[in-house]
Subunit: 286 residues, 2 copies
Amino acid sequence: MPEAASAQATRAVIGDSEFDRDTALTARAPGVYDIDLSAGWTIINAVNGGYLLAVLGRALADALPHPDPFTVSAHYLTASQPGPAVVRTETVRTGRTLSTGQASLFQRDEQGNEVERIRVLASYGDLDALPDDVRTTAVPPALPPMDQCFGPEDGPAPVDGSSEIAGRLMLKLDPSTLGWALGQPSGKGEMRAWFGLADGRDPDPLALLLAVDALPPTAFEMGLTGWVPTVELTVHVRCRPAPGPLRVSITTRNLAGGFLEEDAEVWDSADRLVAQSRQLARVRLG
Amino acid sequence: MPEAASAQATRAVIGDSEFDRDTALTARAPGVYDIDLSAGWTIINAVNGGYLLAVLGRALADALPHPDPFTVSAHYLTASQPGPAVVRTETVRTGRTLSTGQASLFQRDEQGNEVERIRVLASYGDLDALPDDVRTTAVPPALPPMDQCFGPEDGPAPVDGSSEIAGRLMLKLDPSTLGWALGQPSGKGEMRAWFGLADGRDPDPLALLLAVDALPPTAFEMGLTGWVPTVELTVHVRCRPAPGPLRVSITTRNLAGGFLEEDAEVWDSADRLVAQSRQLARVRLG
């Protein structure tokens, strides 16, 4: 079999991929779901916030009458661990075009008490029902071609801060935002990368929830090190993404009082702005 | 008495002003509050979304152990009307630096059933406890001096879309974003204004929740008319504002599928970025 055809044959598809299996929920009761949080999506020891957002987003897609997340606001409460978790959803309002829901993810502590990890409020709709008008002044980020960008596998040693999740993602960072990995941060609050799933699964709205929180923190390029925990993250899904790799651009303009914002834009292979997000995160100032 | 001294003497102060009286809540039970939504903050017949955010923000400031809203995410469910309302809060998590709460505002419909108007998730902290480090690349908006900007009272007739709220606000719009009022929208998704409270009360974090949703919609400058209802709005309060007028700059980059985002920045008289917000809103395309 020619090599191209062979690669094609082994590519994962939406509905049958690592990401789909690791976000799969089991309904325990109406609106209540069990899941085993996979250790495959951890950074150091913590479960990635975008993966958690996708888990909650999938629960709400099941619980609400509309299929697609339009806007999801998440407040991160305590750090999640790999292992069993329960997601409880509530339908807040059902409308013709939009429905709104709430979801929380809980895990048990060592004493067996339920601890809430993350709570989201979200409004869902049907992306395929939207008119296709676009008036935009936004332009895709200037990223070098993918073969001139670098991922964790390109370094002599694993990139600091990378972890299990690195094996699940296709992440190729723009060299101009990679100075931090060489000990020469640019000082600019910018991070840009090509993004996809390592098994070749194409993006869908749930994968966009993962994409907005998958890059190294902009704080690294601002010369800061250490953990940058998310306090709150809101994502707007603006369009169903076309097949193929995504481009993600993250910008921080204001670091003050030990907090910073990260604004992410996600662009698809058809040059459409498919998601916007903003998060408020804490930084530890040396 | 000299004129300046007289004006000084009649200026409202934080804690004793129209805004403070109209956001005052009466505790009915722990975490449950009654309020009479004032007709003074309506646009056409709807209660302004920023005023509602301030009401919910004040309820959470009372219910949570921390005083200041750091990040508030609101999902707007149904249009609020002037009159009685009840706010129910829930303390989600209490931490040392941050606490997280949820609040909903309800009103009764004609049949006497409670209808939820707006739900928020919010994380609170203490702005005065933050270190005063600032590393920012954000710059204040270029606004002409206030006496070269225009408010509803400067037109020959009330500006279209203005309403009762116009009498409570000091709003002076940048003429370069006022083309829509003269039938000549610029086509750019921009709106800029000087902002304050009409009675001279200085800004505080709750007033910032009002400021981010007080300008005419950017859609007007994009040549669209009609209502632009907010689906979701998240605001980050980054710093306690200094006394004096605020500058508010709102930008829309992407109108697509009948939805647009509005990004707001609020700057204080000391040239500090005191709040950032983003909302997702619906537009009616002619």
